[in-house]
């Protein structure tokens, strides 16, 4: 296992930057997740590390070696593909043995190492099957065993769970994470699923349009998003468009005046982001310094442990409050007049409205 160092890598196709100036160091044994919508450059970044795409500029180091211009077969990376890419004409055992054969590992050693890898992913009993005789989850685990068996310097995962059903996905997440910890692997995973990213990562990198928007822990990204994009992509939030009116007040387009703690001065259009779980709902106005806005419950979604209450506060704006579904907690129903309230620190303000500039 080794550290992965990406220094200012870019990939340009004509005038279009698929990835622009990506600089990051993944620590030895760290589980890093690249998160972003499709087309944000996360897969391109992963493929540059694997060697399938050559960066236009910048360099990639794996441990102490500069691997920027090495072909894929000379890099010691283990890649798990989204569609698993198991060799259909080879058995499970032969699939897993392939990487060892290529490394000229003696035959006597291949057998035990393949068996060990398959045991790790709990597939020791299926060695003679062909890939098409396996379920999606089993294929996924074979792909994982195949990528691990030759002890790669870094494990690369390209949306490895997107073809599994929801229940299985949750199990495999935990399995991959445990395996990675047990073996002390450096791992880089690409996903567009924020829940997956949040549950698996040591550290996340949010990407958009080829650029790194923010890198940090789950808590940093969720509680201190760097911009409007990150706030919207990680976790759920209510956005209100408007502008700052000085003295810590935000004026929304719908006419709300909201007290907030903004650290930077933003001129012109701005967006206020409000996490639903920081918003309370009450029948009477909240007192004190809190923001309190009257409104009418328009919609309630029942999520089991939680309730999402959508409150219309004026004809342009709606605020979502997420409340615990517990006995004794005030749970309004549709059409009820309520007050939503939150502390000034609960909201973040960013420049721009995310709409096309007028």
């Amino acid at each position: 296992m080794a550290e992965v160092k990406l220094a200012g890598i870019s990939k340009r196709y004509g005038d279009f930057f698929a990835v622009r100036d990506f600089t990051l160091t993944v620590a030895d044994g760290e589980f890093l997740v690249l998160l972003g919508p499709s087309g944000c450059g996360k897969t391109t970044t992963l493929r540059m590390i694997a060697g399938f795409i050559e960066p236009t500029t910048g360099s990639i180091h794996l441990g102490n070696a500069d691997i920027t211009s090495l072909p894929p077969w000379k890099r010691n990376t283990g890649l798990v593909f989204q569609n698993y890419a198991l060799f259909p004409h080879l058995t499970v055992e032969q699939n897993v043995a392939f990487g060892l054969e290529m490394r000229k590992v003696p035959n006597a050693e291949i057998g035990p190492r393949v068996a060990e890898a398959l045991r790790l992913v709990r597939l020791g009993h299926l060695t003679d099957r062909l890939p098409r005789q396996l379920s999606g989850g089993q294929q996924q685990r074979v792909a994982l065993a195949r990528a691990l068996v030759f002890r790669p310097d870094v494990l690369l995962l390209d949306e490895p769970l997107s073809n599994l059903d929801a229940k299985l996905r949750q199990e495999v997440r935990v399995e991959i994470r445990e395996l990675q910890r047990k073996l002390g692997l450096t791992a880089i995973m690409v996903t567009h699923d924020q829940e997956e990213a949040l549950t698996m990562a040591d550290r996340l990198v949010v990407m958009s349009e080829g650029e790194v928007k923010q890198a940090g822990s789950q808590r940093e990204l969720y509680e201190h998003p760097a911009d409007r994009f990150v706030a919207g992509f990680v976790g759920r939030t209510t956005f209100l468009a408007g502008e700052l009116a000085g003295d810590g007040k935000f004026k929304s387009r719908g006419g709300l005046t909201i007290a907030c703690e903004n650290k930077t001065a933003i001129k012109g259009a701005a967006t206020l982001s409000l996490r639903p779980e920081r918003v309370s709902v009450a029948a009477a106005p909240a007192n004190g310094t809190e923001n309190s806005v009257p409104g009418e419950v328009e919609f309630v979604s029942y999520l089991g442990a939680l309730l999402d209450v959508h409150v219309r506060v004026n004809d342009r704006e709606r605020i979502v409050a997420q409340i615990a579904n517990r006995e004794g907690v005030y749970a309004p129903s549709v059409g009820e007049k309520v007050h939503v309230g939150w502390a000034p620190a609960a909201a973040s303000v960013f420049a721009g409205t995310g709409e096309a500039e007028e």
Binding site: A50, G51, W73, T77, L79, M102
Partner: protein
């Protein structure tokens, strides 16, 4: 309920119609084959109905006829050599066309498929004239030689190879190649261990189609054979000019049998329905 029944009836009617059309088409295709086979067992010399009796003598007559035997051997040789050369040329060509973007790619593709569209007679005459001119100008004894015949047949098998191999490459998942390279296989090893097994069905099908189209070819061979060198289809034609006894039917049955065997054997490894 009535509506449900109406839909069911409609569906059943549709199925009957489909089966009817399919059955008729099959019969239309098979009738000549059935008659030829039947005819080959008639005992009388001039075929007429009803048969006077049955006999295997026409099959014996094939073996006694030198022209049929040598024609059969030549056609077999020709088909094997041409299909092999066709694969050696066609597989790399298909790889280039399917994998790389280069100037003239589309043109090359069309050029390689062209022999399929040009009538065999035209191709035969063109090659004949070419061979005559070549021999006059260089003195090489190409006219009527085995080499000349093979070069002509290679031309008619290449379109099959290119088409079938290109089709199987298009259906091949290239991520598998990336997976192999990620696991440490260089380009050549990746091709040998992963790509080749993946497109093998297409290659087998290409070999079979090449064999069949070369083995049964008449119109091109007519212009390229030399004295004492006759393919089976030409031997049949020449025999037919003088006689119409059931020997012809017997030869045809042998030929049909050989091709059918090739098809059936291939189908065991590659479902023909999948590649055509």
């Amino acid at each position: 309920m009535n509506l449900g029944r109406a839909i069911l009836d409609k569906r059943r009617l549709g199925r009957y119609l489909l089966n009817g059309v399919a059955g008729f088409t099959l019969l239309y295709i098979l009738t000549p084959l059935i008659f030829v086979t039947w005819l080959s067992f008639f005992s009388q010399t001039i075929p007429s109905f009803p048969p006077e009796g049955y006999s295997l003598k026409w099959y014996a007559a094939i073996i006694e006829n030198d022209r049929f035997v040598s024609g059969f051997i030549l056609s077999l040789q020709l088909a094997l050599i041409s299909s092999t050369i066709g694969l050696i040329v066609g597989v790399p060509a298909a790889l280039c066309i399917a994998r790389y973007r280069f100037r003239g790619r589309e043109a090359l593709n069309n050029l390689l498929l062209l022999p399929l569209v040009i009538p065999g007679i035209v191709l035969g005459i063109a090659l004949y004239v070419f061979h005559v001119e070549t021999e006059i100008n260089t003195g090489l004894p190409i006219l009527g030689s085995l080499l000349g015949l093979v070069s002509g047949h290679v031309l008619i098998v290449i379109p099959w190879t290119v088409r079938l191999v290109t089709a199987s490459l298009a259906g091949f998942n290239r991520t598998l190649e990336e997976a192999a390279q990620n696991l440490g296989a260089d380009r050549w090893t990746t091709f040998r261990r992963i790509t080749l097994p993946g497109i093998l069905p297409g290659i087998v099908a290409a070999a079979m189609f090449s064999f069949v189209s070369s083995f049964g070819n008449l119109e091109l061979s007519l212009f390229l054979v030399g004295p004492g060198r006759t393919t089976l289809p030409i031997a049949i034609l020449q025999y037919l000019e003088w006689k119409i006894d059931p020997t012809i039917a017997a030869v045809s049955v042998v030929q049909i049998g050989l091709i059918a065997a090739a098809m059936l054997i291939t189908d065991r490894y590659v479902k023909i329905a999948r590649v055509v």
